[in-house]
């Protein structure tokens, strides 16, 4: 029996998507398998895909402080992991605290200068963040915040995009709901807490995810502002290691796994929120 054209088309299209996905995920998959190879095994031709034996030695070397010839030897990845977690969590928490109420105010509260401020914020989006970096570094140096968590976190808190994102979501809340609560005598803070925040819960998760991933993956600013190895975030720490240990493929893959896997897991778990947020910004609706 001959296949219908429609069936052939279905098979070809699905096979093409599956192939594209396989090729896309291959680097990440390869990163994981190589990280479990015994030292030196990936430097072979043809390149091996699968470890000859699964070994934790790369992770052990990377994560555990060892005494070698009487001196402590340490890649400082564990402190970097904690720094990354702390900095990403703090920027996310503070970022939400600052931008969610502001976004609501710009959408629903009437105050003089609102429209003008809003136009200024939108205009400010075209200025790339790098322009502010050099003077900001000098300012932080003057007040002693260079090489501190606060110094890393501060510029990320100027969340213009986040304010506009929350504002967009708040515009969909019907005015009648808020006005009814006002007539019942609820204070503005009470209205925000009891009516608006529950409605904003899904987009708050989305925004939190954006902020956390953004902070976790940020590189240029932490590289500029952090000078003490024990304060490094993961990307800064592993960029430093790769410059010295470029030959140790298996070790570097273990470092890449430690840096990417936590956020990949977070993304996959919360992908519904992430994808929704992505489209909220680019498609009208």
């Amino acid at each position: 029996m001959a296949l219908k054209p429609r069936t052939v088309r279905t098979i070809v299209a699905n096979a093409a998507v599956a192939l594209l996905t396989a090729v896309t995920l291959l680097p990440l998959f390869w990163m994981v398998t190589v990280s479990f190879m015994p030292r030196g095994e990936s430097n072979r031709f043809p390149p091996p895909f699968w470890p000859s034996r699964w070994s934790w030695e790369n992770y052990y070397e990377l994560l555990v402080r060892r005494l070698i010839d009487g001196a402590w030897f340490d890649y400082r990845i564990v402190p970097a992991l904690w720094n990354s977690i702390a900095i990403a969590a703090l920027s996310t928490g503070l970022g939400l605290l600052l931008t969610v109420p502001a976004g609501y105010a710009f959408a629903k509260l009437r105050f003089t200068g609102r429209e003008r401020l809003l136009r200024l914020l939108i205009a400010a989006l075209v200025v790339p963040g790098q322009v502010a970096m050099l003077p900001l570094f000098l300012m932080l140096k003057e007040i002693g915040l260079v090489n501190s968590y606060a110094g890393v976190i501060l510029p990320g808190l100027a969340g213009i995009f986040a304010i506009l994102f929350v504002r967009q979501a708040c515009l969909r809340i019907p005015d009648e709901m808020i006005d009814a609560a006002r007539l019942d005598g609820a204070s503005e803070a009470r209205i925000f807490r009891s009516i608006v925040l529950p409605l904003l819960a899904p987009i708050t998760v989305t925004l939190a995810l954006f902020m956390f991933l953004g902070s976790w993956n940020d590189f240029l600013w932490p590289l500029i502002v952090l000078s003490d190895q024990d304060k490094y975030t993961l990307p800064v720490a592993i960029a430093g290691i790769v410059r010295e240990h470029a030959q140790d493929g298996e070790l570097m893959m273990a470092a890449a796994v430690v840096t990417t896997l936590p956020v990949l897991a977070l993304f996959v778990t919360l992908q519904r929120f992430y994808m929704r947020g992505l489209l909220g910004g680019s498609v009208k609706g």
Binding site: R9, T10, A13, N14, V17, L20, T21, T24, L26, P27, W30, M31, V34, S42, F45, P47, A102, Y104, A105, L109, F111, L121, A124, V126, V127, P128, Q130, V131, L134, P135, L154, P155, A158, G159, I160, I163, E188, F192, W216, N217, F219, L220, I224, L234, P235, V236, I238, A239, M252, M253, A255, A256, T259, T260, L264, F267, Q271, M275, S282, V283
Partner: protein, 293 residues
């Protein structure tokens, strides 16, 4: 002051104050810094600071490496934007096909590289692009292409980094394009089909005009993104070989934080800003001319 406006200021003042302090003020100071000779001497003692007018900009225009960085960045953007947008559009068209099963699964998988750290994945790609043991050259060898010295040959280094960048970012615009494609009017598509329009004809005259504004917006944002390339060359090539991957931002970082010429580096930052602004304006104009916007 009404109750509402009092609440509004309470809600907005903290974040506006932070924006003013860590974004607006430094941006204004950057203008000031760019007309001084702020260097390591001024870092030690402010009294060493001198006003040099447009001296930094004049110096830059006579610095060969700055021109090299501008040229490299233009090449990155000129090749990278079509490459990335093309990859996103191709993936989106494939994923939009009505016969595809498990669409949400593919979407998440294809998007995954976008959420990873640039530094970590750049390290992975350094090994994938290895001349002797890398998977890329192995795959090319299977179809009879000799080993390419991706990160060691000045002619191959920009394409090598662009392959990595395209892999990393195509998922983002793919998601955006899939959404735009599903908004293409179906009755128009059906009418074109009944009129006997070919597959390409339908794409050219129905799909493309409908997703035009989205494509333009994506292109503008991609150009701005490519102009800000930094971590990729920093991790993969350190600007080499033969300075073929020094980008504007890489040059600014070296100038500012390796040599501590912060005045000069500020001038670079402002030129970068003007470039991004210029590209945005030009592309918006083009969009208006073709009545996409």
């Amino acid at each position: 002051m009404t109750r509402q406006s009092r609440a509004a200021w309470l809600f907005t003042a903290p974040v506006l104050a932070i924006i003013a302090l860590v974004f607006v003020l430094p941006t204004v100071l950057a203008l000031g810094l760019s007309v001084t000779d702020y260097s390591i001497y001024a870092l030690a003692d402010w009294s060493n600071l001198r006003f040099v007018g447009l001296g930094n900009f004049v110096d830059l225009l006579t610095t060969p490496l700055f021109w090299r960085a501008l040229g490299n960045t233009a090449l990155f953007a000129g090749l990278g934007v079509p490459m990335a947008i093309g990859a996103s559009l191709a993936a989106a068209l494939l994923l939009h096909d009505t016969t595809i099963w498990w669409k949400p699964l593919w979407r998440v998988a294809l998007f995954a590289p976008y959420v990873t750290s640039v530094v970590a994945t750049a390290i992975v790609w350094r090994f994938l692009l290895n001349t002797r043991f890398g998977l890329i050259n192995y795959a090319l060898g299977l179809i009879g292409i000799g080993p390419v010295d991706w990160l060691g040959d000045p002619h191959a280094s920009i394409p090598a980094i662009l392959i990595f960048v395209t892999w990393k970012i195509f998922g983002y615009n793919m998601i955006v394009f899939v959404a735009a494609l599903s908004a293409v009017p179906q009755d128009l598509m059906e009418a074109a089909r009944l009129d006997g329009a070919s597959r390409w004809g339908r794409f050219r005259h129905v799909t493309l005009p409908a997703i035009g504004p989205t494509l333009l917006l994506a292109a503008v944002m991609s150009v701005a993104g490519f102009l800000q390339l930094f971590a990729e060359p920093y991790v993969m090539t350190m600007g080499g070989p033969a300075q073929s991957t020094v980008t504007v931002l890489y040059f600014m970082f070296d100038e500012g934080f390796k040599w501590w010429n912060l005045g000069q580096a500020s001038a670079v930052a402002l030129i970068l800003f003007i470039l991004i602004l210029g590209v945005t304006i030009v592309q918006t104009r083009i969009g208006r001319r073709y009545e996409w916007l």
